[in-house]
Amino acid sequence: MRGWMGKFRSLFLFGALTMLLTGCGIENISALKPKGYGSELLFDLMLISIAIMIFVFVIVMAIYAFVLLRYREKKGQEHIVPKQTEGNKALEVIWTVIPIILLLVLAIPTVQATFDLADQSTQGDEGVLTVDVTGNQYWWQFDYADQEISTSQEIYIPTNERVYLNMKASDVIHSFWVPAIAGKMDTIPGENMNTMYLEAYEEGVYEGFCAELCGPSHSLMYFKVIAVSPEEFDQWVEDMQNIDPEATPETQTAQTGQELFNNNCMSCHAIGGASAGVGPNLGNFANREKIAGILQPSKENLVDWIVHPDEIKPGNQMPAELVSEEDAAKIADYLLELDHSDVGNDLEMQSVEE
């Protein structure tokens, strides 16, 4: 924990506030349950600002309550003409100066945090991971350039290390947001690249959102950040590098599925290696938490998706009814066999039914 904030934490108000706020929301989703460097830094900043605001609000409300209780016009006193006060220099100075001080108290950590989160000093250093993030309507692509692998929808990172993200968009503006471990940053089409970093403290599957309106399925553009220990992460990289797109699946239907897939889908999708970029890389598909970011990973759902992606994610770029339902089932068999790495399998997405 960063020094000065640690001391503040012990103060009663902060303690109470922290307790109150962290009661809100669900682990690994909520910004109020920080599990990473960025989110924790920002949570602390929020606490400071909320404390200041509560202080101000209490004062305003105290005067307010007093005035309303004390100075109501009473029956029979309608004729009284109160003193027509023009103003009061001393008071006016007070309520100019105190807010300025309070704002300075807020401004300093704000500027610090702003620069802290924009820090890129270790990017490119030996052993520091950088992932290229591309936002597409309505899915995310993650390229690990140095490792020569790419994934979609799920980004794997090692815990307790800074992972830099170089972010772009291929079509319209999106925004990459993982409330539980970092803030958000827009991905923009064109020449502009943004950079942010992730640092997760604990292993886990963290919910990610697209936060910039990007079309009808903007609200369905989820992704996952999967934080695993550095050793497991290395294992995962190796597994991913070893994916052989040509590998023959075990069952007969899956083999037909593979053929169908290669004929119909490969123009947009890739299995392992670098990605074509039109559609998600399906290399490790069977290990996905969700299909297309939102559906539970069952065969039924997968067939539904393959035949009618437009009904599940309105406006998305994958054509409907490319293949018949039977063929889709075969392709599904094939895709669900694409289980090339079990890293992260033991981590479950936190989710509480209400």
């Binding site: 929301g25 100075y71 500027v111 319209v172 958000k184 502009n192």
Partner: protein, 623 residues
């Protein structure tokens, strides 16, 4: 009385009267009715949004329709409801408060209204012609430039037309306030409402041109193949964001400042005290307006402007809390030591203070650039801006309407019903929007058509929806009140609140169409109060009774605006088929022809003769 006369003249004549009127009081009525109608439409859209978000995975409306709904809700509420309602109050009150007989440019005043109305109608026609705009009220490129169909084209043309109307209105009020004040009404004697309209108009003057340019570029990109926002040809999507927010941030102060002014007048009237710290209030208003131009990029903290720019804009934004705080405390101390009378207008104003303070404080939290990485584009932001907009602007409009209704329509709105409308709206408001701050932080981005089961967001959203229904009930009671008052209430006096302090309360409710029989002489701040304290009945005139020069009515503002409306359709559809260029030429022809007519035909106005005035005085109009 104009309305009484009108009733005798039959419906056709009344309509013609309103189509051609250049009287600021009637234009105020027009703004009120059309702005009110758009508020109901915008509110209906809000209800649909809330119903869709009532439970997880809801499919009350489709994803595409949802985006149209939020876009039209935001656009309608800001441009077609809040702005015109503010203009309604401005028109009704400002000339009276400064002791003028009309605004500086009565003709342009009417033109401004019709441009707004036709722009608004054009925008809403999109619902029936294949889809409303769907890229959010902020209309970010390239989502907007690539949006299929014509929705965004309607957005561009509709806002361009109504924006021109607003700009005209702004200039009009600036000149009115500078040039038309009654003798003795120095700048530092102007009522605070007038002051804030002055500052607001300045903001309009400098903010709207940026939107105009942005809309032109958007129009060129969508309709004529230019490449401003097309990255394929070297364009840059961020230019739109900057242009939009250079306009957009001042716009939110354009919305709130006039109501700050109205609250100042209301607090002082119903506390029976002069405004505490008048000069500080004026200074704070000007300062807010000034700072309002230096903070726009706080809407773009996550765009990647870099830490230096982010920090500068963060600190500049926070600075606005200081002048706003000065205002809050001055209002509190205006009431301090006063005789607070709890009318409906006062009730809305009292409710405004805590509500707006919460909204302002969440604003300052948003201004902490780094923390905005968490807040941005979540329901936290939605919570913030509804707190300031509904808790500030909407409450302010309700308060102002209650306060000035007698001056506009000659009857005091029923107080009981007024308070009855207040409570469900007030409670519903907090229910709807307070919880949204938490929803945002718990991981609910804004503009989400659905949220999912198991994200812990269901309860909060349900509460929010229930609140929205309460607000609807409040609104409906307010509407009932209007009807009830029109039918049942009796005619109001010149000064129905008894403690009126400013000039508008010195003349009958509603005023004769020349407002002041004789221009009043202003002898201090709160001129009417000054006279009252000297034991006088009314204002001392500054001029002898004489002929009054008044402008002539004209249909040209209507035809000019109609022309732009027609041309608007032409521009939108010429992309599909050049035959629509006919509409462009016909519309522009009508517009330019009407403008030329206006320019070449002398319009010298007419005089109301001294004899008629004496007649009116006998009937008790002059007082």
């Amino acid at each position: 009385m104009s309305t009484a006369v009108a009733q005798k003249r039959g419906l056709g004549a009344v309509i013609w009267d309103y189509l051609t009127t250049v009287d600021h009081k009637k234009i105020a009525h027009l703004y009120l009715v059309s702005g009110g109608l758009f508020f109901l439409i915008g509110g209906l859209e809000a209800m649909i949004i809330r119903i869709q978000l009532m439970k997880p995975d809801n499919d009350f409306i489709s994803a595409g329709l949802y985006n149209e709904m939020i876009t039209m809700h935001g656009t309608t509420m800001i441009f077609l409801a809040a702005m015109p309602l503010i203009f309604a109050i401005m028109n009704a009150v400002v000339p009276l408060q400064i002791g003028a007989r009309d605004v500086a440019f009565p003709f342009l005043n009417s033109l401004g209204f019709w441009l707004f109305l036709f722009g608004g109608l054009l925008l809403n026609v999109s619902w029936f012609t294949g889809g409303a705009p769907d890229a959010g009220w902020t209309n970010y490129a390239p989502l907007s430039t690539t949006s299929p169909g014509h929705g965004v084209d309607y957005y561009v043309m509709g806002l361009q037309i109504s924006g021109a109307g607003t700009l005209i209105g702004g200039i009009n009020f600036l000149v009115t306030i500078v040039n038309m004040r009654a003798p003795g009404m120095t700048y530092m004697r102007m009522p605070l409402f007038t002051w804030s309209v002055f500052v607001t108009s300045t903001l309009i003057l400098f903010a709207f041109p940026a939107l105009t340019v942005g809309l032109f570029l958007m129009m060129f990109d969508r309709m004529f193949g230019s490449a401003f926002f097309d990255v394929g040809l070297g364009g840059n999507a961020i230019i739109w964001e900057h242009l939009f927010w250079i306009f957009g941030h001042p716009e939110v102060y354009i919305l709130i400042l006039p109501l700050f002014g109205a609250f100042s007048d209301i607090f002082s009237t119903f506390s029976k005290k002069r405004l505490f710290g008048y000069s500080a209030m004026v200074f704070a208003t000007v300062l807010i307006g000034f700072l309002g131009f230096m903070v726009w990029a706080h809407h773009m903290f996550t765009v990647g402007m870099g830490p230096i720019a982010n920090s500068i804009f963060a600190v500049a934004t926070m600075a606005i809390a200081v002048p706003t705080g000065i205002k809050i405390f001055n209002w509190l101390f205006t009431m301090w030591g006063g005789q607070i009378r709890m009318t409906a207008a006062m009730l809305w104003s009292i409710a405004f203070i805590p509500s707006f303070t919460i909204g302002g404080m969440t604003g300052v939290m948003l201004a902490a650039a780094a923390a905005d990485f968490q807040y941005h584009d979540t329901y936290f932001v939605v919570g913030h801006f509804h707190y300031v907009i509904v808790g500030g602007v909407a409450f302010g409009l309700f308060a102002s309407l209650h306060y000035w209704w007698p001056k506009m329509f000659g009857k005091v709105l029923n107080e009981k019903l007024g308070k009855l409308a207040f409570w469900p709206f007030f409670i519903g408001f907090h229910l709807t929007f307070f919880i949204q701050h938490f929803l945002g932080l718990m991981g609910m981005p804004r503009r989400y058509w659905v949220f999912l089961e198991g994200q812990g967001l269901a309860t909060g959203n349900l509460i929010s929806t229930i609140g929205a229904f309460l607000m609807a009930i409040g609104t409906i009671i307010f509407l009932i009140n209007i009807v009830y008052t029109a039918v049942k209430e009796k005619k109001a006096d010149a000064d129905p609140w008894e403690h009126g302090r400013t000039l508008e309360w010195a003349i009958p409710s509603p005023p004769p169409h020349y407002n002041f029989v004789q221009t009043p002489l202003v002898r201090g701040l709160d001129p009417l109060w000054v006279e009252k304290m000297d034991g006088k009945e009314g204002m001392t005139p500054a001029e002898p009774l004489g002929d009054i020069h008044m402008p002539n009515a004209s249909i040209l503002p209507f035809t000019i605006s109609l022309g732009t409306f027609i041309a608007g359709f032409g521009f939108i559809y010429q992309v599909d088929d050049p035959i629509w260029l006919i509409a462009v030429f016909a519309g522009m022809g009508l517009t330019l022809g009407s403008m030329l007519t206006r320019s070449l035909k002398d319009d010298l106005g007419h005089h109301i003769h001294k004899e008629e005035l004496e007649e009116d005085i006998k009937k008790g109009v002059g007082k």
